[in-house]
């Protein structure tokens, strides 16, 4: 030993003197950890609360109640309630007249401005109403119509009365009209029936998520129908059937790679393979679902393999012992026992697919589509893409509607993940 030995009393003194410092260091590290977690949780809370505060008003909007004279001759000239007949009717003129009787605009210019106060969906709203309830004909009843988005923003206080008229999106004249309507108690702030039932629209007061919602459902169904069987089959093959050789190794490497490929690349593949080579149409949920299926496949395979691996070998041995074949062991014992784990992985994969945007932009699901898609071959869009499109619009009301759509999307994601956790807790078995 060349090291000089320290006298034990001296050594204990050194330790004693340094111990407070070392303990302080220890506490500091602990504090850093707490601060880091605190920051992350704060971000999370801030994100959720900022979106919730912005989005909550998006579920509501301002309506004006008008007394409509349901004159059958004018609304439904052919008298058969067909779309064509109602289209030829004077629904929007009737709404305007009802408005004019209250606010009484003087002159052509005032009338022209007043017409724009009620959302341009007024005629559709009126015709839908009589189509669902023809008894209204011949009566005078009050109906609620959405107000134009600029007036909505004014009533919410985003457009200030004090701003000079030239810098305001609405004129003094309209403010006067709005005051008049307000004084008569005709304006009400209510749960918006457009956000859930409306489809894509350039008018923020009429925009809703119905089309995107059904598009998401169709896309996810395609994705599930392709990804779940394929994923489970691959997992079963790799865990139960295949011998360890070069080919299975190659498959495993590929699965890991696919999990690392950026999602936008899957979109490019969809564009190049499904659309260019196979000649499938753009913007349809079928192609979207296929692309998302290939994207979620690694998630499903990896979790399914873990679930299969968790089934104890004794179960298989028992089944083999009473004469079951390999396939019977797999389909009668291993898969049923591994099903909770597989389902959990699948739900998490579907939640990923539900929130995915970039690959769907590539295959054209970003188009402006008003109709609700009825089949996987109809052009459609999905919730996250709808959010992306709305986020680009400048109108104040779109910000609220976008946040409202985000709340709905997050609601679905959270409930899917919660369901996956519940499933795992409920069906999980310890061996």
């Amino acid at each position: 030993m060349t090291n000089k030995l320290i006298n034990p009393t001296r050594a204990s003194e050194i330790v004693k003197n340094s111990i407070t410092k070392r303990r302080a260091k220890d506490n500091r590290l602990k504090l850093y950890g707490r601060i880091a977690i605190g920051l992350a949780v704060c971000f999370l809370i801030f994100l959720f609360s900022s979106i919730f505060i912005k989005g909550y008003p998006g579920f509501f909007q301002y309506y004006v109640t008008l007394d409509i004279n349901f004159d059958r001759e004018r609304i439904d000239p052919q008298g058969d309630l067909s779309d064509n007949s109602l289209f030829n009717g004077e629904a929007s003129k009737i709404v305007n007249e009802a408005l004019f009787t209250i606010i009484d605009p003087k002159g052509r210019k005032a009338k022209k401005q007043a017409k724009k106060m009620v959302s341009s969906g007024k005629d559709v709203r009126l015709t839908n109403l009589v189509q669902s309830n023809p008894n209204l004909f011949g009566t005078v009843s009050s109906v609620k119509f959405a107000l134009d988005d600029d007036i909505d923003s004014f009533l919410r206080g985003y457009i200030k009365r004090e701003t000079p008229e030239s810098e305001r999106r609405i004129s003094d004249q309209i403010i006067k009209f709005v005051d008049k309507l307000d004084k008569e108690g005709r304006i009400s702030y209510e749960f918006s029936d457009y956000i859930l039932n409306g489809s894509a629209s350039g008018n923020p007061e009429m925009a809703g998520i119905k089309g995107a919602f059904f598009g998401s459902i169709l896309t996810l169904s395609v994705c599930l129908l392709i990804a779940f069987p394929l994923g489970v089959a691959t997992a079963v093959y790799l865990e139960e059937v295949a011998k360890k050789n070069k080919i299975t190794e190659l498959i495993e490497v590929n699965i890991n790679n696919l999990a690392a490929v950026p999602s936008v690349v899957f979109g490019i593949m969809g564009l190049a393979i499904f659309i260019s080579i196979f000649g499938m149409p753009r913007s349809i949920p079928l192609v979207g679902g296929m692309v998302l299926a290939l994207m979620t496949l690694p998630t499903i395979i990896i979790s399914s393999r873990a679930a299969i691996r968790a089934v104890p070998p004794s179960v298989r041995d028992a089944a083999y012992g009473i004469g079951a074949s390999k396939l019977q062991v797999i389909f009668h014992h291993v898969i049923p026992l591994a099903m909770p784990g597989m389902l959990t992985g699948t739900i998490i994969g579907m939640a990923q697919a539900l929130g995915e945007t970039a690959p769907l932009l590539m295959i054209g699901m970003v188009a402006f589509i008003v109709d609700v898609p009825n089949s996987v071959m109809d052009p459609g869009t999905v919730l996250p893409v709808q959010i992306f499109m709305w986020a680009d619009f400048a109108e104040r009301m779109f910000v609220q509607k976008t946040s409202a759509a985000i709340i709905i999307l997050l609601g679905f994601l959270i409930s899917m993940n919660a369901f996956a956790i519940y499933l795992r807790k409920k069906l999980e078995r310890r061996w």
Partner: protein
């Protein structure tokens, strides 16, 4: 087990038929596209701006009844002929499918006798199906690589390789494919350096947010936290990874960016409304869980005996963690950071929504930059001219993106594999 005979018969009848059906439905359009060339008049083929893809699209639109304006007579004629082919091919498909299903069904039915082991035969078929489905992963990879490589080769035929890799100006314009000989050279420039600089600037900002936060929380969660704290905070952090990126993009563009802008002007700084900083910060929040979860796992995997040895020598928890546990877990931690980088490089929606499209070559995080992914999206969304260098450039960008992310992924896995068993 009598039902295996039935299963055997139906499987061996259905599977070939399904195969035939798919081949017919996929191939008929390709065959029609070849045949329809006969019906395109010569003067159209010889004209200067002849493009078969566009002509085909015209005919297809006409077949589906989408008519814009008045198409030339020959398009309508070709569409009529196309329609008649569709009817013929439908009949043909039905007949061929019926024949296949009957013959293969009959053949398999004839096989059945008391000696025939139907269970084994069925198992063989199903095993093959399982094997085929597992090959899909390989097929997808091949599809991805090929879809990108072919277009990239065409791109590099138009634009020299070194100009793309080392050029410092990115200014793509639609100008058709005639760049090579039209004397318009210099109009568009495809130097990808600003895009990669922007990508790495944003990734750098993201990592300088997520590495300190992710690592400290991983250390805290695995070494200091009680099991109750762990049960609460680990899932909370993982929520961050489950939020859709479009939500982050919206948050970055509408909350963080205006906030940075106003606080920047408060300090006298000029912050662009689409700054790299906003996108990078929000992306950093997004990738915290990628670092914290993986690092947490590898720190937990360090054997307890190492810690005990540290305590046995009289070290404090801090010293044990920093000088023993962390070095032991370092390969895994590095791997998690590399994976986070590859996630940041490939992230799309946040940069599309918050980072802007201006290809600035700058290291200033307060300016607007653009990234590889956001250029891919802007180029490929909407209508494209398929032959132009601009469209093809997106594929070349995608190729480099794939190479970078896959390279990082391989490297990370390699590190993990190499050092995994060191302490077992």
């Amino acid at each position: 087990m009598t039902h295996y005979y039935g299963i055997f018969c139906s499987l061996s009848a259905l599977l070939p038929t399904l195969g035939v059906f798919f081949i017919f439905t996929i191939c008929d359009d390709l065959v029609f596209a070849e045949l329809v060339k006969e019906y395109i008049p010569n003067e159209v083929i010889n004209s200067k701006d002849y493009n078969f893809t566009i002509v085909l699209a015209q005919i297809n639109n006409s077949v589906e009844g989408l008519v814009f304006g008045t198409p030339p007579q020959w398009v309508t004629n070709a569409a009529e002929i196309w329609k008649s082919w569709v009817i013929k091919s439908n009949i043909l498909t039905t007949i061929v499918c019926a024949i296949t299903i009957l013959t293969s069904g009959f053949l398999s039915y004839k096989k059945i006798n008391s000696e025939f082991r139907s269970r084994n035969a069925v198992e063989k078929i199903i095993m093959t199906l399982l094997a085929i489905s597992s090959v899909i992963a390989i097929l997808t990879t091949i599809a991805i690589i090929f879809s990108v490589i072919f277009e990239s080769i065409r791109f590099f035929a138009l634009i020299p390789f070194d100009e793309f890799l080392f050029g410092t100006v990115w200014n793509p314009q639609f100008e058709g494919a005639e760049r090579a000989g039209s004397g318009q050279e210099g109009l568009s420039q495809y130097g990808s350096v600003p895009l990669f600089a922007g990508t790495f600037l944003i990734s750098f900002i993201a990592l300088s947010v997520s590495i300190p936060i992710g690592l400290s929380s991983a250390i805290y969660l695995s070494e200091y936290a009680t099991s109750k704290e762990r049960a609460i905070f680990k899932p909370l952090l993982e929520i961050l990874a489950g939020i859709p990126t479009v939500v982050y993009g919206f948050f970055a563009a509408l909350t963080v960016a205006p906030f940075l802008r106003s606080s920047g002007s408060f300090f006298g700084l000029d912050v662009a409304s689409e700054s790299a900083l906003a996108a990078g910060l929000v992306m950093g929040i997004m990738i915290i869980p990628f670092i914290s979860s993986l690092s947490d796992d590898v720190i937990n995997a360090v054997p307890q005996s190492l810690r005990d040895a540290g305590y046995g020598l009289g070290s404090t928890k801090n010293e044990t963690v920093l000088k023993i546990v962390l070095p032991a877990a370092l390969p895994g931690v590095v791997a998690s950071i590399i994976l986070a980088v590859s996630r940041a490089v490939g992230e799309t929606m946040i940069v599309v929504m918050a980072a802007g499209l201006a290809a600035n070559l700058t290291a200033n995080p307060l300016e607007a930059v653009t990234t590889v992914t956001s250029q891919i999206v802007t180029i490929l969304v909407g209508d494209q001219e398929f032959e132009s260098a601009k469209t093809l450039s997106a594929f070349a960008l995608a190729l480099t993106l794939i190479i970078i992310t896959l390279g990082m992924n391989f490297y990370a896995l390699h590190i993990v594999k190499k050092y995994r068993e060191q302490y077992d």
